[in-house]
Amino acid sequence: MSVSQNDLTLENREAITSLLFQLADDDFMYAYRGSEWLGLAPHIEADIASSSISQDSMGHAAMFYTLLEDLGAGNANDLAHSRKAIDRRNCILTERVNGEGYYMETPHYDWAYAVVRSYLYTQAKKVKIDSLCGSSYKPLAEAAVKVRIELYYHRLHWEIWFKQLMSSTDIAKNKMNAALKLVMNDFGDVFSYGNQKLAIEMTKLIGTEEEMKANWTASIEPVFTTLQLELPKIPDSPEKNGRMGEHTKDLDEALTTLSEVYLLDPVAIW
């Protein structure tokens, strides 16, 4: 049975809000990290694609924050900019820096890491979005249909980069494999629903954590098989769980930069 905004029980509302924060915060941070590549990607076509994907992803985050606003969770802009790290529900993977250095100074970012993170994150997002298209919460199901369309091109793009670099020179392969290890170390909370797991799964807002993990593994298997790579394993329990508000210092720094302009004058209309 699908429900609309008006006939929610208090319990349902808590579960939906919790899931929406996870989705919104994930895309918000992913888009921000992607935007830090602006002007730095290996060539101009990659730069255009990367910024376009970041822009789309920020649009997805904005839409999830709007759904939260519709549920009375607060103003969408405030939710994006004014919440502290401890209140954020994004997974650790999306908050990690792009590499050493700072964007405004001397960024020594790691493109292999960007490709692996983006490919595996986008694949995980696709699995969730596919499931959300049948969500019991109708506004979320409708939004998912919209995101799914745009995600098609993102996934295609990162898969091509992943395949190309993984079957390129030894240097490229080494960098990619090192990046794969880093990314997988952080994958333990990607499919976690945090402390609302039971309610989220019981009310069929989205498939279970186990289903999502299995679908994700199945979705990357053909590519890993073609590349003769061992299928990556999702860590059983994450060192830190972003869905519980546990985060790294990377998030603190990102939030300071991200909100700098907004906090100068929160009532300004940009």
């Binding site: 255009i48 694609a49 994907i53 822009q55 920020m58 939004a143 249909v145 995101v147 091109y153």
Partner: protein, 166 residues
């Protein structure tokens, strides 16, 4: 004193033809299939729009331009313009007139069909040649791709096809 009759939906559609894509001035939001519904109640008007791409920065401008255009109608009362996500905007909502307008701007209209493998083909927006290569699926805006024509040797753009079947 002048008195005005009720504002009709036909009148609203009439003015919406004047609301162009801020980046492609040969195509209106009606041609793009962005206008989902127009309703009137007395002299109050509600326009429901569909966003093309969720992160498109032109959406706010389009909303403002739509408000301004409808407010020009004589005797109009309250005007409400809102974006909804459902139904999702797809590129097959672009009308034939929209296709003509896109071509006039040098952008190949989105193809109506996908190949079995999900790829798609457009002809050159300038010379019509079919000998083109995809340069970048992503382009200067979220909705466009960049291609190269081997015949007239021009770089050109195409509106990306998007469909719920993808």
């Amino acid at each position: 004193m002048t008195t005005f009759g009720k504002v009709s939906t036909e009148q609203v559609y009439e003015v919406l033809i004047q609301v162009k894509d801020p980046e492609i001035d040969s195509v209106s939001i009606i041609d793009l299939g962005m206008v989902e519904k127009v309703t009137t109640e007395g002299n109050n008007v509600k326009v429901v729009l569909l966003p093309t791409f969720l992160g498109c920065p032109a959406l706010e401008i389009i909303k403002k331009n739509t408000m301004n255009a409808v407010n020009e109608l004589p005797g109009v009362g309250e005007v409400l313009v809102e974006f909804v996500f459902h139904p999702p905007w797809t590129s097959d909502r672009i009308t034939e007139k929209g296709h003509v307008g896109l071509r006039a701007f040098g952008i190949a209209p989105p193809p109506r069909h996908f190949e079995e493998d999900g790829s798609w083909h457009v002809d050159c927006a300038y010379c019509g040649s079919t000998y083109v290569t995809m340069d970048n699926i992503f382009g200067p805006t979220a909705c466009r791709s960049i291609l190269y024509c081997k015949s007239c040797k021009n770089v050109f753009e195409a509106m990306k096809p998007v469909s719920t079947l993808m």
